[in-house]
């Protein structure tokens, strides 16, 4: 898993930039809710007023406003105002001074406001508490009470917070008469239960007071509100733009890092694999190397990009949330921990339940694919035996098993989302319930609760994201590990430090006591082989499947290195020459006709990019490929698809033979290259070959006796050992293995015609 991160090292500056941008984004993300709620709470509900100190107050209000204040507070309060005729005008104050004042004067101001605007119900309740004999306020109208008490209640109707019309009275004139102790007691009660910092409801009451005062003093609240809405809207716009820019920037960099990591890995692996000798290719297997270079890299690339955006963002938001939560002082961290645990538990439970089935699912999918493929490839046989029903049943069984497993995992997973949301909802409800008691006992302030809910959700969400990542990461970790295996493996065959130049290549190949053992194999694949292949002569190698024929020729271009003994070309040990020099002299035609996407001519020019059209034509002629090349209109420009799938096996072989001929090498190696050709083409090809490449050394590996009968020298291999060496007729006489092979392929008559007799 560490590897996923080390891949990003070259991009550390970009990663750091992403981190910085994400912090900016998180900051905006965490502050934007404030802006949006300000827009409504202050901009609309509070008419754009955010401070509780009125701009202007009437003289009478100035007196009432200090009703619940201590002397010091009252002194400071009045010092902030200048008298201007009938009005008191607030002196200019900075924003921080004003919000400071918000906190300091909140309690007395709210109390004043409450007394100023007491709802009829509350008023009656208060009165009945201190009711005197013969005075039953519940049976009197407000006007009658006003009269009876001989005070100005300034009865008025107003919309309350729910938007309903309610009747309010002003109790303050009554209160002016109360003694200071009683007022302080009321104030203390409020102070212990309500925190004024950050509680928007409290604040809006204070602001409502300011607005009422301002209105009374003739301030144009509407224009203030408009101004507030526009400026706040603009601020929000700026914040949103910053957040957008940060997110887009982070996305931009993260995508570049992700794609960059993918590109780098792909190139590194590709370069490495190209340099591998057959030993390493065998070790990994081609199919596995292909997956490692494609799917595995793709996975890493995707995970890297997601990692940079999600995995990095989650803790930032989480930490931000924790900081905010600590600020609220709610001491309800246990609820968050419980919620996180519940989520972890749910995810763990689902994974434990579904994981074995998920793993089994891949096998079942493979199983279904296998049956389908078998049915499709075996269609003629199935029909010939009339087994369609049997196959349908076999398919149905695999199909059913897959369906059942998939159904199980899908159903288990259908718990996931509802479960998650339920946990989130449950958390919110728990917070409210627990808070309500703590608020009641005075341990928690109201504002803290709403803030706590918001941030708790953020923390839980970030944990959720981390959980998701913890599912993705291990899988990517496996991919990273597999890639690293390739990058840690170097080719075992390297150029010598001081290569011997092949100055005048003649093409003499000599094996001296060559033994070869595959890595980790117990026995030799090739044992004590010695022979000499000379220019102008054909050396053929024959033997049954798995006898080591191909292995033997693969040693010449150093696809493998000999374990013991030596191979020389023109007297130079192949291990002492530069590989590119060595391979320049060799024209290899592999067992499988391997072609590359492009055109026929681009394939033929593979060994000699400068070859002219004439050379191509001649090579095609020799390789008996002219007929089918000219059968299509495009001729040599006919396109060859990836892996040469649009030409037949025999055509591929002929083209790869022509490719080797165009290269004009000193040594030809035909590794069972005639097997896909019919006998007629085979013989015509060999005849043409003999005419044109007469001066080169030719080494032919074959299975068909007829292909090699005419060779100057035939090597007979059996289980890696040389059991016969000589011409066809010699071998028929003295090599048992050769005779057996010949007997299985030729009739006695033909054997005798080709110069041998079976007698033993």
């Amino acid at each position: 898993m560490k590897k996923i991160f080390t891949n990003m090292l070259p991009y550390w500056h970009m990663v750091l930039a992403v981190l910085a941008l994400l912090i900016v984004q998180a900051y905006c993300d965490l502050s934007l809710p404030q802006y949006t709620s300000d827009m409504i709470d202050i901009g609309i509900q509070n008419h754009g007023i955010s401070y509780i100190m009125p701009e202007k107050m009437t003289a009478s209000e100035m007196a009432y406003s200090q009703l619940y204040m201590t002397e010091a507070e009252a002194k400071e309060w009045s010092s902030r105002y200048d008298k201007d005729g009938d009005l008191y005008v607030r002196r200019s104050m900075s924003g921080s001074e004003l919000s400071d004042a918000n906190d300091r004067f909140m309690i007395p101001v709210i109390l004043t406001y409450q007394s100023r605007n007491t709802s009829e119900e509350e008023f009656r309740k208060t009165l009945s508490g201190s009711a005197k004999e013969g005075f039953d306020p519940n049976k009197m109208t407000l006007e009658e009470i006003e009269k009876a008490m001989d005070t100005d209640l300034s009865i008025h109707t107003e919309k309350n917070e729910d938007g309903d019309e309610k009747v309010y009275v002003n109790m303050r004139p009554m209160m002016l008469g109360m003694d200071k102790e009683q007022l302080t007691a009321i104030r203390q009660k409020l102070e212990t239960t309500v925190d004024t910092i950050g509680s928007s409801t409290m604040k809006s009451r204070g602001i409502a007071y300011a607005i009422a005062c301002d209105k009374e003093a003739g301030v144009d609240i509407d224009s203030l509100q408009k101004k507030y809405l526009w400026t706040q809207g603009f601020k929000m716009f700026v914040m949103a733009v910053i957040m957008l820019a940060a997110a887009v920037g982070a996305g931009y960099l993260a995508s570049k890092v992700g794609a960059g990591v993918g590109r780098d890995l792909r190139e590194k692996i590709f370069r490495r694999v190209i340099s591998y000798s057959n030993t390493e290719m065998d070790k990994f297997s081609t199919a596995s190397l292909i997956t490692r270079s494609t799917n595995d890299v793709q996975q890493i690339q995707m995970v890297t990009a997601v990692l940079l955006r999600m995995l990095m963002y989650a803790p930032i938001i989480g930490i931000g949330g924790v900081i905010k939560v600590l600020n609220t002082g709610a001491h309800m961290g246990w609820i968050i921990i419980a919620a996180v645990c519940a989520i972890l538990f749910l995810v763990a439970l689902l994974i434990i339940l579904a994981m074995p089935k998920f793993k089994a699912m891949q096998t079942l999918v493979d199983g279904l694919n296998l049956v389908s493929r078998e049915i499709l490839t075996g269609l003629p046989v199935i029909r010939a035996f009339g087994r369609e029903k049997v196959e349908e049943e076999r398919f149905e069984e695999a199909n059913k098993r897959l369906m059942k497993t998939q159904l199980f995992t899908h159903r288990v997973m259908s718990f996931m989302m509802p479960g998650m949301t339920l946990i989130m909802y449950g958390t919110t409800l728990t917070i409210i319930w627990v808070s309500s008691h703590r608020i009641d006992s005075g341990d928690l302030k109201v504002g803290a609760m709403t803030a706590f809910i918001t941030y708790a959700m953020m923390i839980v969400m970030s944990f959720l994201m981390l959980t998701v990542m913890s599912v993705i990461l291990p899988r990517a970790g496996v991919a990273a590990e597999r890639i690293d295996e390739v990058l840690k493996t170097y080719t075992s065959i390297v150029d010598p430090e001081k290569p011997q130049p092949i100055t005048k290549p003649a093409g003499v190949v000599e094996f001296r006591d060559v033994c070869f053992r595959y890595p980790n194999a117990d026995s030799y694949a090739i044992e004590n082989i010695s022979f000499k292949a000379e220019p102008g002569k054909t050396t053929a190698i024959i033997g049954s499947t798995g006898c080591g024929k191909s292995t033997l020729v693969n040693l010449i271009p150093r696809f493998y290195d000999v374990s013991e003994g030596s191979i020389t070309i023109d007297g130079i040990d192949v291990r002492n020459a530069k590989m590119s020099d060595l391979r320049k002299e060799i024209g290899l035609v592999p067992q499988k006709g391997v072609l590359f996407s492009g055109t026929i001519s681009s394939n033929l020019r593979f060994g000699d990019p400068g070859a002219d059209d004439e050379a191509l034509r001649l090579a095609a002629d020799i390789a008996q490929a002219t007929e089918f090349i000219s059968s299509s209109e495009e001729g040599f420009e006919r396109s060859i698809s990836q892996g040469g799938t649009n030409v037949s096996g025999g055509q591929k072989q002929r083209l790869s033979i022509a490719r080797a001929i165009v290269k004009k090498p000193k040594i030809y190696i035909f590794d069972d290259s005639f097997s896909a050709l019919d006998m007629k083409t085979d013989s015509a090809l060999r005849k043409a070959l003999a005419e044109h490449v007469g001066g080169s050394t030719v080494i032919i590996v074959a299975q068909r006796i007829s292909t090699i009968m005419q060779a100057d020298q035939i090597l007979v291999l059996d289980e890696g050992k040389l059991v016969g060496k000589g011409s066809h007729s010699e071998l028929l006489r003295n090599c048992d293995t050769y005779r057996q092979i010949a007997a299985s392929q030729l009739s006695e008559e033909e054997l005798s015609r080709t110069g041998g007799e079976i007698n033993g």
Binding site: V194, K226, A247, G258, L422, M449, S683, A684
Partner: protein
């Protein structure tokens, strides 16, 4: 290797960037959608239930926060009462609200979960049924269909297409309903509060639609390039690694790496661009949401100042504006998904609608016993009507005769086999078995009389016993072993771990090619059909096994009418009749000596083997 891999379609492989990757577009959306809906028909009621549940769960989820807000308000009111000394927090009320909300949430969760559960069932059953239909369809289709296509193509319908369909079906129906329900619900709530404000906030709609389509269009372009170059890269890697030795032998390493880097660079550019653009979506939509919110707040504030709208209304209204952009985004996603789902469904239905071969002919003749006389009368045949390969072929083969079919590679030697087995029907003339036109016989009946050993040894992933028994399903173990002995397979089977119970692995690579051939011969011996069709080609088989195979084949042929795609001269010379094929047509027919005397194509073919190189 290449055969085994189903061709990758976008969306088939690892999902890159996911949500906004271009889905494949169906050719005929309406038609395919209709078919899909009628295919879903039997699940009408469960789907309806899913829809109702999804709508319900959405409604509850939307209503939940509003009701929770009541609890917070009650809490605050109680607190205020406490301060004023006129009461306290009404815990009963709060408890009731919270419990009610909890019940609502539980209900929503249960509804949500139930619909997920049902939908998983429906989508899985649909996938199951589709795969089953495809598999049964395969059995009824003419061979020609499969010969003109790669296995991968058909395979990818069974796997990729059906998977895509199942997955999308599982998510999209629910998602469509949830987002549409949220959208409609929100819209209704908004309209009921203030039509005017709704109008204002709907401005967000075209803006987000425009942004969405812009970004999707842009990113899809890059997704397509990425997909294309990913294909190139994968192809290049596959080609290079498979041709690894050739590249080294021709000293082409540097050049190949250079080519690779060029493609890799294009891939890199499209990869980061598509990743970036699809990643832009979320922040852009959040931005639009924020702006819409600010816009509505400002507009609402201004309207409130003029007294057109109440403050309480704005407050309620604004809650819904926040929820407005999310369903739009979801719907955009779902549309994309539904499109690729329909494209997948289209391919499946296309396959299911392909022509079938008639199974049982009218007035079918079912001969009870067969002696094995085969007669060809003026047979005319072409794989396509405009390209006749066999012009006019007539021959009488009597029971027990051996017919060798010879010709160079690609001469169409298997055509005769395909005609005999009725994988194809003749265009004119007729082939009859024991005097009965084979077209008059049900295919299954006809094929019962043919045994077949082809070069392409088809064995399946099962035990050796099961594989041989495939020839006759009711054969006893003893009969299977007897057949294996007759096919010279018993000896090697005994030497295998688990013997007859050894399970052949996926590509049957745990027995050699030659051994596989022996098993298929044993299978044919067990089937004991009157007419045998054999392919002698035994490339890449070691000599000792080859001797066994030949001997086993000779045994198989004795006493049966046999058609042999011949490679051995001994077979050819001993044949009662040799059919010489060239370019698809039968150019010569007759005995070995007779044909040599003709000094035609056969003579040329026969001698070429011994021409000196």
């Amino acid at each position: 290797m290449a055969d085994n891999m189903a061709p990758r379609r976008p969306g088939g492989g690892p999902r890159m960037g996911g949500r906004f990757a271009p889905g494949e577009k169906p050719k005929n959306f309406k038609h395919s959608m209709k078919k899909l809906i009628s295919y879903l028909g039997i699940y009408r009621i469960p789907i309806l239930i899913v829809m109702i549940l999804a709508a319900l769960s959405t409604t509850f989820a939307v209503a939940g926060p509003k009701i929770t807000a009541k609890a917070t308000n009650a809490l605050f009111d109680g607190l205020m009462r406490k301060i004023a000394g006129t009461g306290g927090i009404d815990f009963d009320y709060i408890k009731r609200i919270l419990l009610f909300t909890l019940a609502l949430y539980l209900f929503s969760t249960v509804a949500n979960f139930t619909q997920g559960w049902i939908m998983a069932g429906i989508s899985q059953k649909i996938s199951f049924r589709m795969r089953k239909d495809i598999s049964e369809k395969i059995g009824r289709m003419p061979m020609s269909y499969f010969e003109s296509r790669t296995y991968g193509e058909v395979l990818s319908r069974i796997t990729n297409d059906v998977d895509t369909l199942g997955m999308t079906l599982n998510q999209s129906i629910t998602q469509i309903i949830t987002s549409v329900a949220t959208l409609i619900g929100t819209l209704i709530m908004m309209l009921s509060i203030s039509p005017m404000m709704t109008l204002i906030s709907l401005v967000v709609l075209p803006v987000s639609a425009f942004l969405l389509s812009f970004v999707i269009k842009k990113s899809q372009k890059h997704f397509r390039t990425q997909q294309e170059y990913l294909g190139h890269i994968n192809g290049l890697v596959e080609e290079t690694y498979s041709g690894h030795t050739v590249i080294q032998a021709f000293n082409k390493e540097e050049e190949t790496v250079d080519d690779f880097c060029k493609t890799n660079d294009v891939l890199y550019k499209s990869a980061w661009k598509s990743q970036f653009l699809s990643g832009i979506m979320m922040p852009v939509m959040i931005f639009v949401g924020n702006m819409g919110y600010a816009g509505v707040a400002i507009a609402g504030g201004l309207l409130a100042i003029r007294g057109i709208i109440g403050i309480g209304d704005i407050q309620a209204f604004i809650q819904y504006v926040k929820q407005f952009t999310q369903p739009i985004q979801q719907i955009a996603q779902v549309i994309n998904q539904v499109q690729s789902m329909t494209a997948a469904a289209e391919r499946v239905f296309e396959f299911l609608d392909e022509d079938e071969e008639e199974q049982i002919p009218e007035n079918a003749v079912i001969p009870q016993t067969i002696s094995g006389d085969v007669s060809f009368s003026h047979v005319k045949f072409g794989y396509t009507p405009d390209k006749i390969v066999i012009g006019d072929f007539s021959a009488e083969v009597s029971s027990g005769q051996k017919i060798a079919i010879v010709g160079p590679t690609g001469a169409g030697k298997t055509t005769m086999v395909k005609l005999l087995m009725r994988f194809y029907d003749v265009n004119a003339g007729s082939i009859s078995l024991d005097g009965v036109d084979i077209r008059k016989m049900p295919r299954a009946e006809l094929r019962k009389h043919f045994g077949m050993v082809l070069q392409d040894t088809w064995l399946f992933n099962g035990t050796i016993m099961e594989n041989i028994r495939y020839g006759r399903l009711d054969a006893t173990d003893e009969e299977v072993i007897a057949a294996a002995k007759a096919a010279h397979a018993h000896h090697f089977i005994k030497s295998l771990p688990d013997g007859y119970n050894m399970v052949l692995n996926e590509d049957a690579s745990n027995v050699s090619q030659g051994q596989k051939q022996l098993l298929t011969i044993a299978r044919a011996i067990l089937a004991d059909s009157k007419v045998m069709i054999l392919d002698e080609a035994t490339s890449s088989v070691d000599t000792r096994t080859e001797v066994l195979i030949q001997d086993a084949m000779d045994r198989l042929m004795s006493g049966r009418t046999s058609f042999v795609i011949a490679h051995r001269l001994s077979t050819i010379r001993n044949a009662d009749m040799i059919l010489v094929m060239k370019d698809g047509d039968i150019v010569e027919q007759g005995g070995h000596e007779q044909l040599l005397a003709q000094n035609g194509f056969y003579a040329q073919l026969y001698n070429s083997q011994f021409e000196t190189a």
